[in-house]
Subunit: 463 residues, 2 copies
């Protein structure tokens, strides 16, 4: 091991090979404190060439590796389990090129940095999520991140034109194509997107850019139940077509938590309602979106779909609405532990899922409090039960496997996914075995075996 550490030190430079416990601590634990493991060392390569050399040395020594970006993951995918060389991509943070169509960035660029580089070029990069200030694009791609603009622009995968990947043996595949069309054989980039570093290490990417948005209208709407929220989505689609860029469902208990824990937050409506929807319309042309939104909401109100609503009168007010949505996770962190689920079902089954999951949980765990919110336009819900009193909650959290079973079995029965946008990591690696067919697992393993026969890339994650 000392020989490996010495060799790695030569590659990345002494300042960028961390071996002391205190130096390594921030890398060896996730931000929520759920996952922790002792890495052999933390290597911080400064270029793709250095990454390749680090991987080559580890592979030759038979030592496993964990790639890590901003360490903002929720499933422990970027945290060591013990004994790995942790490869932190943070120093690969250059924007290599930008033009009207695409931006070429290194894996360690934060998502905010990519968004800002696009904006500086007069273009728009639509991927957006709460952790964007710290989350890196390499991690976003490795988990095929979603976020709040998926309804219109798709997931991280859909925004990718090309990749540069260091393979498990240290060779580098340069797939940094800037083309919208390329049908010369198997499209390798899709193997690595969403693979959570288990097939290789993404070092750079070419991402699509879009026309900038020149008009926005944002509304905070109260609805009686999720079925009416889905009906409202359908109505909005009917009348406003592809102007709908976000449609976020927020349960009252989620809003309550934000109001309690996040300073400066304020309820948009005078009265409380069981459910809310945050709707955003956008346009790439200068246009009045407020008038058509008001008109559709008025019709929805007459049809009984909408109880009350407020349309943001200014950009500041719109940002305030969004801040309520974006702070749900943080508020819940302050409130205490909950059992988190990141699930997707077909949009038409959303109301059924929530009703049946609520009923099943409350009947088995009386007093359970459910914080439910998410991207209804994508069929994606974050469904997080807990119990209000700390003692009761400890006992409830101990029942996590049973709670997961109830929620995930229901999701699966509705044709859904038990991980919509967070990946599998360590958290759902075993859980997935219950729901994926044996054939699908076999296919996944066959690619893993072909690319990483010694299982050195992020072992214990995904597969």
């Amino acid at each position: 091991m000392n020989a490996l550490l010495e060799a790695l030190r030569v590659v990345v430079g002494p300042a960028h090979l961390l071996t002391g416990d205190a130096d390594m601590a921030p890398y060896c634990r996730d931000w929520r404190g759920r996952y922790q493991g002792q890495a052999l060392c933390v290597a911080r390569p400064g270029s793709t060439g250095e990454v390749a050399e680090v991987v080559r040395l580890c592979a030759a020594a038979g030592v496993p590796m964990v790639p890590q970006g901003g360490n903002t993951g929720l499933c422990g995918g970027g945290v060591p389990r013990g004994g790995e060389v942790l490869i932190s991509l943070g120093r690969l943070n250059r924007v290599r090129a930008v033009d009207e169509d695409s931006i070429t960035v290194e894996a360690g660029c934060t998502l905010t940095q990519v968004q800002e580089a696009a904006r500086a070029a007069g273009r728009f990069f639509p991927l957006s999520l709460a952790a964007e200030g710290s989350a890196t694009i390499g991690g976003n791609l490795s988990t095929n991140a979603g976020g709040v603009q998926v309804l219109r622009y798709g997931n991280a995968r859909d925004l990718t034109l090309g990749l540069e990947v260091v393979l498990p043996d240290g060779r580098c595949w340069n797939g940094l194509r800037r083309l919208r069309k390329d049908n010369t054989g198997y499209d390798l980039k899709h193997w690595f997107i969403g693979a959570e570093g288990s097939l290789g290490l993404i070092t750079a990417a070419v991402l699509k850019l879009y026309p900038p948005l020149r008009a926005t209208a944002t509304a905070w709407v109260a609805v009686a139940d999720p079925a009416r929220a889905v009906a409202l989505l359908s109505r909005l689609r009917q009348h406003l077509g592809d102007r709908i860029s976000a449609f976020e469902l927020i349960g009252h208990s989620a809003l309550e938590m934000v109001l309690r824990h996040i300073p400066g937050s304020r309820a948009p409506l005078d009265k409380a309602h069981p459910w809310y929807v945050l709707v955003e319309l956008t346009d790439t042309l200068v246009a009045d979106l407020t008038a058509p939104l008001t008109s559709v909401l008025a019709d929805a109100s007459l049809a009984g779909e909408v109880k009350d609503g407020a349309i943001a009168a200014s950009e500041i007010q719109a940002r305030d609405f969004w801040r309520l949505r974006e702070n749900i996770s943080e508020a819940q962190r302050i409130e205490g532990i909950s059992i988190k689920h990141d699930v997707a079902v077909p949009i038409a089954r959303i109301a059924e899922f929530i009703a049946r999951a609520d009923q099943a949980l409350v009947s088995e765990f009386p007093g359970a409090r459910i914080v439910c919110f998410g991207h209804v336009g994508d069929g994606n819900l974050h469904y997080n039960p807990s119990r209000p009193a700390v003692q009761d909650n400890d006992a409830f959290i101990a029942q996590t496997p049973r709670v997961n079973r109830i929620v995930h079995d229901l999701v699966h029965g509705l044709g859904g996914s038990i991980s919509a946008e967070h990946g599998l990591g360590q958290l759902k690696r075993d859980e997935i075995l219950r729901y994926k067919s044996g054939l699908e697992m076999e296919l996944m393993r066959s690619l893993k075996q072909a690319l990483d026969p010694c299982c050195l890339m992020n072992p214990g994650k995904v597969l």
Copy 2:
């Protein structure tokens, strides 16, 4: 072999196992007459279960298979080379389900059938290409088809939510998910899309649906050269954002051929110009797109980007413009053989590519006539040189390898692709070896080896 034929006959029924030369002839030759091979038999299974059983029997007998959809391919990917069981998917043509978000269709549905089923449900399926009346969705997915709406909606891959695939050993993977988000491991559907049947046989797919289009504006514009066309695209993007749904470049020689060979076609402008652009704007809301298009074209005219132009005054006129574009391939077929290239380069390099390719070809082959047209918004050009006189042309066609070398080397040097939307098939299987890195070929072969170790699925295509 007789035992296999007997067993296949039992599976698909006697009426659907063809063995006579005359019966098999239409399946064994592509529509342009470029590729031909004798199949062992043609099996026309009527269900996914029958496909699986056919594949299982062939695999057990060690007999290779060729899947075929509408037989409209341009690279010989669906034509037998000799001795294969040809599996025609034409009888798998049911629309299994349709809702607001997605449509589930069997592989043998024609593209037109899918478009119409979406329309009947009040939604829009954007994939569109000249052969859509015969081309099947299974073939579209297996070649990751492009067409005229890619600029706004992406390729066939981007429109796919889920797949059902019969694997090379006859087992069936049911990946017919209707979810917009699913991050539970490797996304297997991307292995099979664009693989031209070499990894398995797509039997059904879940495809995304979009809001219907309620407004359109179409213009036929004359420009002096490709550089000005690209400048015009940039200007349109700047002012009209994502309303631009098509931007097709058409060289004068392409238009001339259509006018000569296609009855009822008429030049949109009084005078001839070296290059034209067919621009289409669309909107999912009812809106006037003609006024903003007129205004941007007027500015472009002042800036010297546009020489002349006509905005379609009616849907009929717009269809006439499109018919000119869509009939280029047919006109060229009538005119005689040309050496076809389906290439992509970064949009910023389009003008340079055309200028350099023209110059290199004309200097080596004086008198060469170049028909160039394509989807400039996607960086995709169809670049088809020939020689006007039949005798000269025969000699020219004999020089195909040399012509390909000139064109493809240039494309590669500009960071482009030698197959943008037609796939590799038999046509470019060897050519690609010159341009793909050894590492990329090795990665492709590793998946092929993992899934189809006996090389029974569409041998001699892609790899």
